[in-house]
Subunit: 381 residues, 2 copies
């Protein structure tokens, strides 16, 4: 099942030469083995960051295993084979060396079985299936971290990915979020991220150590839910910011909408989880990720086009035309948030979130985003 093994035997710890095993025997047993579950654009960048650190830090095994959803490339080769031969994810992060110590494994069960630390970075809709597959297949004391932005918001509240992982696999799960445009990090431009942890600060520090590089600055806060909700709710604000861009309202208005959006993100997170801290929203996962997402990003871009068309072309239509199959998370999150707000009687408390959804479904014109006072109380502002 894992043909890549033979080709990369020097990187496979099970193949470690005897003299090395012996000389490192004591240390090896204490070293953490890291596996990355996912190998898209962000997953590949995460592999690069982590692999540069495991080589330097004595508390980690050099090798980083990366589960790759196997694909056959146009050349006829398997994606894992190419990654292991060239150290490049030619499909999702071409031109960037991941590090020779990254080992692509197409077999998810094999990839996780010896891991002490699991990094989840797949599209969020795959996570339910992946968790089901991994039940009973991971070490009991394995630590996990989720880099997955955008979880499902259900009527009874948001179903968070870190929680899904924790509950289904019976393990602890941190999160890492922030202003992370994968391609910019890949070329080593300064960036930041936030680790959110539940209780164990030592584990959080270990994740920080594993991800931090001179150009990728990571800090930890004890607030899993706050960090994770930032990563999702910002996409709704990005829709609002894009509408303002499309309406050509100027920087004042855009800044006001982003601020109101940040305030609603904070207020909703705190209503949903009383443990959420205000200070989390000053971290990279909060204000910085919001800025990045509202300056660039596909939610902003499609919403701008929506407003420029006066709302006459639907988001579905524009998404199909502009995103080549990628999905617009902000619109679906806005719908889910609206359902939560409606279910709990909070619609009037969140005029921006509510208005984004009402605009997206065509009940209000795009210009409503800046006309709260006409139809909504500015209760949060």
């Amino acid at each position: 099942m894992a043909p890549a093994f033979e080709e990369n035997s020097s990187l496979d710890p099970s193949q470690t030469p005897l003299h090395q095993s012996l000389s490192n025997a004591g240390a090896v047993s204490a070293k953490s083995k890291v596996t990355i579950v996912g190998s898209g654009n962000w997953g590949s960048v995460a592999a690069k960051l982590i692999a540069s650190n495991t080589l330097k830090l004595h508390s980690f095994h050099d090798q980083v295993r990366m589960w790759v959803f196997e694909e056959t490339l146009p050349s006829g080769e398997k994606l894992t084979d190419v990654i292991n031969r060239t150290n490049e994810n030619v499909k999702y992060l071409p031109g960037i060396k991941l590090g020779k110590n990254v080992f692509a494994d197409p077999d998810i069960e094999n990839a996780v079985k010896d891991a002490n630390m699991l990094v989840f970075v797949t599209p969020h809709q795959f996570m339910d299936g992946i968790c089901k597959k991994l039940v009973g297949k991971v070490n009991k004391d394995v630590e996990a971290i989720s880099l997955i932005k955008g979880m499902e918001v259900k009527k009874e509240g948001p179903c968070m990915i870190s929680n899904l992982i924790s509950e289904q696999l019976g393990i602890n799960c941190c999160v890492l979020m922030g202003a992370n445009i994968a391609n910019e990090i890949a070329v080593e431009k300064l960036s930041e991220a936030t680790v959110g942890y539940r209780e164990n600060k030592e584990i959080a520090e270990k994740w920080v150590q594993l991800f931090t590089t001179p150009y990728f600055i990571v800090s930890a806060v004890q607030d899993v839910e706050g960090v994770e909700l930032c990563g999702t709710l910002k996409n709704v604000v990005a829709i609002a910011a894009g509408l303002v861009d499309g309406l050509e309202m100027g920087n004042n208005t855009k800044a006001a909408i982003m601020r109101i959006g940040l305030r609603e993100m904070k207020a909703l997170s705190k209503l949903l989880f009383s443990s959420v801290n205000d200070s989390t929203f000053f971290e990279s996962c909060g204000v910085a990720d919001l800025i990045t997402t509202c300056l660039g990003g596909r939610n902003r871009k499609v919403a701008e086009a929506f407003a420029k068309n006066g709302g006459k072309r639907t988001f579905d239509d524009l998404e199909a035309e502009m995103l080549q199959g990628q999905k617009l998370q902000g619109v679906s999150t806005a719908k889910e948030v609206y359902e939560v707000l409606s279910h709990r009687g909070w619609l009037e408390l969140f005029p921006l979130f509510a208005t984004v959804h009402e605009i997206a479904i065509g009940h209000l014109p795009p210009s409503s985003i800046v006309k709260y006072s006409e139809h909504k109380p500015m209760s949060l502002v």
Copy 2:
């Protein structure tokens, strides 16, 4: 001294027809008279906002007096005469009607003598002279508000404009700051602002009432220093953001620099004034004004040019070329902040603020803005 009076007798309260004086006698005595000290771009927009409200609100005199630094226009007419005839500040806010109830007065002592509420909105370098001129000339119980961004930061700490007004005139002084590009508010695009007050919440609410319109949303926080420091320190961050733009580092890095800047603004404000609240930085004066200033604004623009020239042309040189006589507040504030940090031994705590100054004076190359780790501890990050 006040020739405009005759031309606008219907707007001069001292000329109120007798029957009106009699019928409103009780109410008139309780109504607040508002005078605006300053009539530049932002001062004129403030006059428009306020004048629209005094007409609607019973607790204010309809007339808003505006002190205008008299100028003779190319036509040979006096600026005050033209404002009073056309209701337009043809020099500093052409094309916008201020309201018929705005009365331009070239005599500052006359303008303030009956006022119960004074709005200060002049260039900050004029305030010392203006205060000296007004000593003993204002009502003892007059309330003041400062819209002036950028105060002097001295070694012993910042000399804040609201404090200058309070101390020199012996009166209470609030502040109003926010993401306020005057020309955007003038054309009634949605914008926000924050009133900072010291103790008297009722007065703060009165200022909120006086400024709020459907497109200008004002809220009050009990934190004069925090609000006022936001208005100054953001200009240093805007220099940093402009450098990142000039270096073409992308949105991730710009968002990271803005976030670190916001964090240093908060940390320095709290070190200087223990009364400063974290939550102030979530208000319009904090995160929203920072976003506006780092997206547009002259500090950002000139810093971008500075970085594009590899630091080979000085800020003075670029300022002279690009700003037609306007001054670059961020560079001088960065210098003043640096002196405070140096004097107090805090330089290492504020790598971003310190680096901006060191780049501006040519001691470090522009690219240092994203290279903390090479020369500074990331102590705040």
